[in-house]
Amino acid sequence: MSAPSVLYDAPGPKARARNVVYTVAFSLVLLGAAWFVVSGLNEEGQLDAELWKPFVADSRIWTEFLLPGLGTTLEAAAAAILIALPVGAIFGIARLSDHAWVRALAGALVEFFRAIPVLVLMIFCDRFYYLFTDISPDNRTFWAVVTALVLYNGSVLAEVVRAGILSLPRGQTEASLALGLRKTQTMTLILLPQAVTAMLPAIVSQLVVVLKDTAIGGAMLTLPDLLSQYKLIANNYNNTIPTLIVIAALYIVINTILTQLAGRLERRLSRRNRPPAGVREDHIERQDVHLAETKTGEASGA
């Protein structure tokens, strides 16, 4: 087909002329918006070289603020996802249990923690640790943020794991039981490994959500994460806006890398289920692992 998309024909002379008009008009609008921002920043002196110079000339801004902040962000995100994975697996499996009360309990907990904002959980955990434990104040915020993220993302991952297990062909369970494996063995040896592999892209995209959510702890609690560094840097160098832009760029770079990784994993895994070249596809019983459509909970967390 010559048309680049199914939604429109390959442009003829008239459509090409129209597209040129649209291109020019839209570019003007974009330039207008860009001019508003740039001239506004310029008037306030935010584009002055001296506000931006520290980021290249002064290494302390990196070694004392940005990199330690980034370290805390990555630590919190890593701790949260590493703890949330087993928690999610346990609850995902519990929701598929043969015992009704286990299913109901796990279901209620998962739905509860999915319905509550992470910020509310963070505030609660922070105060809970303050009242009932003697963790030092420095660590308290960190673990409060991690706990809140584990509770929320654990329940999201529980749904991911459950969907992953349910998407496996029934024959897997049947064959495993026919071989004489117990229910626990079937789950841990046969179903879970396949489900986790199929869910790997969803887990990596959840990592993006976790990473972004740590910023809530930085702004609202006193977690010394990447975002919260803007106050300290602005105090020293008096450059709030440039700092926020640099911090945003750092977040975007890291999250883009993770998103790309998830996309690559997804493509790679979907290749696995394709029949080898030369085999007529309708002779293969297809198993649909709807990776793209699987409900991954609120992938749009903060």
């Binding site: 680049p4 935010q46 509310v120 975002l227």
Partner: protein, 225 residues
């Protein structure tokens, strides 16, 4: 329990509801426009749509909300309310927060819609083109109505996430539920669990029926294929 009556719980959740509703409407409109741009025949629009979605989606919402206040208002002087009115600070922060939520949530609306467009059979668009419809007509009259019916469930997830994300507005001092929760915990240190349960119950009441209702709608309007 009666200490709860000393706080304006309903008022705080009403702010949460208003934040959610205004942001949801805005994100639906702007997200649809973005999705239209991403599939349009004009390369500049496609490039803008892709760049916008990838940049905004990968930025923490907290940073965006802080940016609307520190960047748009404090630096660029973009005031969204009458500066002389007595409630200027409150109104302005509320509207800036809505703007931030729209900017962020629309990227998820756009991506859901785009995957919805992919579920519409190719023949539909081909038939529309064969009838001589232009791109905008093909999209608006034939493809998007079917795409919307396919993405109600994902959009419901986005709406529920948005409801919870509105708590981030407390970063710029909007008096919604989580800000009230911090205040209550500060004053009533011994009632931590009651306060948590009250606030949690509020969010469960907001999100659970929305999810169930939209799940029912999604089944009802799904295109049978």
């Amino acid at each position: 329990m009666d200490f709860l009556s000393r706080y304006d719980l309903l008022g705080a959740f009403w702010v949460t509801v208003r934040l959610t509703v205004f942001s949801a409407i805005g994100s639906l409109v702007w997200g649809t426009v973005l999705a239209g741009m991403r599939v349009s025949p004009v390369p500049v629009m496609r490039a803008f749509g892709t760049a916008y979605v990838n940049l905004v989606r990968n930025t923490p919402l907290t940073l965006i909300i802080l940016g609307t206040s520190l960047g748009l208002y404090s630096t660029l002087g973009l005031a969204l309310a009458d500066e002389t009115s007595g409630t200027f600070l409150k109104d302005n922060n509320f509207r800036l927060a809505v703007l931030g939520f729209v900017a962020y949530t629309s990227t998820f609306v756009c991506e859901s819609l785009r995957s919805g467009i992919n579920t519409v059979p190719v023949g539909q668009a081909e038939a529309a083109r064969a009838l001589g419809l232009r791109f905008s007509q093909t999209l608006w009259i034939v493809v998007l109505p079917q795409a919307f019916r396919a993405v109600i469930a994902p959009l419901a997830s986005v709406l529920i996430a948005l409801t919870k994300n509105t708590t981030v507005a407390s970063a710029i001092g909007v008096a919604e539920a989580s800000l009230l929760m911090s205040e209550m915990i500060e004053n009533e240190a011994d009632k931590l669990f009651l306060i948590f349960l009250a606030i949690a119950a509020g969010f469960v009441v907001l999100t659970l029926p929305t999810g169930l209702f939209l799940g029912w709608v999604a089944k009802k309007v799904a295109v049978k294929r």
